[in-house]
């Protein structure tokens, strides 16, 4: 049995610095911290959202509310995805009307996840602003969606598999997998 080959693109020693940079750029742009909310897209964006919020806390001198969005029921590929999508559950626990949301995902690829996340978000309320923050922008967009904050931009082939893994202590590793 041959395992898929893997190449580490960003190690768990590199991602904390990238996330810290993202937090600084975000903090510089935030004018109304009282309205800001961090929302991670399950499952890949959840840990990044947590880490970003952690970095933002000292910069803003306040802890932003953190929520999680599960988009399983908003996907447009019900007929083609594997037989058992994992459902993680949405946990916003706040009213998002009029809020300025920092929507967080690990990898931005086709843009379809973000499309689904926006639809889901608007079923919960009417936010004033939604910004998109991703750790990796790997290109190959199929929809007119762009990140406001990208940790890194990586050249990839369309058929490659880019994965963000959570290691010990919660640090993230970005790997490229060849099938």
């Amino acid at each position: 049995m041959s395992l898929p080959r893997e190449e580490i693109l960003l190690g768990s020693d590199q991602t904390p610095g990238i996330i810290a940079d993202m937090a600084v750029r975000l903090a510089n742009d935030i004018t109304r911290p009282d309205k800001r909310v961090v929302v991670g897209i399950r499952r890949g964006g959840a840990q990044l959202a947590y880490l970003l919020r952690q970095q933002l806390t000292p910069l803003l001198d306040r802890e932003l509310p953190l929520g999680f969005l599960d988009i399983t029921f908003y996907r447009d590929d019900l007929d083609t995805i594997g037989p058992n999508p994992v459902v993680g559950g949405t946990d916003l626990a706040m009213n998002i009307d009029d809020k300025r949301i920092i929507l967080v995902d690990d990898v931005l690829f086709t843009g379809r996840t973000i499309r689904a996340a926006l639809n889901a978000l608007f079923d919960y309320g009417r936010p004033e602003i939604v910004d998109l923050a991703v750790l990796v922008d790997r290109g190959h967009r199929q929809l007119p969606i762009q990140p406001d904050y990208a940790g890194v931009v990586i050249e990839t082939g369309e058929r490659e598999f880019i994965k963000v893994r959570e290691g010990e202590g919660g640090a993230l590793t970005v790997v490229r997998r060849f099938l």
Binding site: I81, G82, Y124
Partner: protein, 334 residues
């Protein structure tokens, strides 16, 4: 909201993620694996949140057609399936086959031919004859959900019961179903709910008892279902952590099953005194509709500390949403 065996933390996500929901139809609990039950319960548990939003709808099943085909009256189950379909954005049609078209001589096969022309994605069927859903599954491309067939099975009721028990495991001092004692009491003979639960709960690892008069317990129940049979409430309830009362189905009874409903309540009804024989925190369930004063006393049925009967109704909606989702999704027929 969140509880134990299926609905907590990453462990449960592993269960659902690694095991396949591979069934095309949901015809019964018999033959479902523990993992498959887990997939439905976990999906249901996450869909519950939709029912508490301002906008109680997700776009998941847009463009899918669900036909509710009910040959028996059942406002609750039909409404539950209808609402489940609508909250998932499916188009739901109630195809009520009333007694008249059947009495005019239309066979189930003719009805099937009519349905075929409508090309539904899911057909939910309730029928007085056991095996009718199986018949549909042979003749239609659609996914079939058994919403109760004769005395055979009523799988979504069992799934919602298992979800409701799962929600209450912690207060029963447990983290899993293994060893949990469930007493299913009353008119077991006519009950598809009892049969589905006997299969489903056994798969989950619970110890199931059938409790009722000899005339209302199916023959050879111990061998067929692997349950304990008790012919008196005292021993049947002793130590039971879940007490599931069944509706006395007098409409299905012809002949001498019991002397009178008053006498039935005297020997088999669940009142405070009898409930005290069960485990201290035992929960009381009933699939509805209840005959108050026949199988269950009103003060027990309305006791917010012990009765979880309305939780069952709420969970029923979520479970049916989950079933529709799993049967429509995953690269199956679109």
């Amino acid at each position: 909201m969140r509880s134990t065996a299926f609905t907590e933390g990453s462990g449960s996500e592993m269960i659902a993620g690694n095991s396949a929901w591979s069934k095309k139809h949901l015809l019964g609990m018999e033959g479902l694996t523990r993992e498959e039950i887990g997939v439905i319960l976990e999906t249901a548990s996450s869909l519950r949140e939709v029912n508490h939003r301002d906008i109680k709808k997700v776009p998941t099943l847009r463009g899918k057609t669900v036909i509710n085909l009910f040959f028996e009256n059942s406002t609750r189950t039909r409404t539950s399936f209808e609402l489940a379909g609508k909250r998932m954005s499916a188009d739901v049609i109630n195809f009520s086959v009333n007694a008249s078209s059947v009495s005019k001589g239309e066979s189930l096969y003719d009805t099937v031919a009519n349905l075929k022309a409508m090309n539904p994605d899911v057909v939910v069927i309730r029928h007085p004859e056991s095996g009718a859903p199986q018949f549909l599954a042979h003749h239609l491309d659609a996914a079939i959900v058994n919403a109760g067939d004769g005395r055979h099975e009523h799988p979504t009721q069992s799934l919602l019961d298992i979800l409701t028990i799962d929600d209450n495991l912690l207060r029963l001092g447990r983290t899993e179903f293994s060893g949990l004692t469930v007493a299913i009491c009353g008119d077991v003979l006519h009950s598809r709910v009892a049969r589905s639960n006997a299969w489903g709960l056994a798969t989950m690892g619970a110890r199931v008892r059938f409790v009722g008069p000899p005339t209302l317990i199916p023959p050879h129940a111990a061998e067929v279902f692997g349950v304990e049979v008790h012919h008196d409430m005292e021993s049947g309830l002793a130590g039971a952590e879940v007490v599931m009362m069944l509706r006395l189905q007098t409409e299905r009874m012809q002949g001498g099953f019991l002397p009178s409903t008053r006498e039935y309540f005297h020997y088999w009804g669940l009142d405070r005194r009898r409930l005290a024989m069960a485990a201290p925190e035992a929960i009381v369930m009933h699939p509805g509709p209840m005959n108050r004063g026949v199988e269950i006393a009103s003060d027990v049925a309305d006791d917010p500390e012990r009765a979880v009967i309305l939780d069952q109704v709420a969970n029923g909606l979520a479970v049916r949403m989950a079933v529709l989702y799993r049967l429509c999704g995953g690269g199956r027929k679109g």
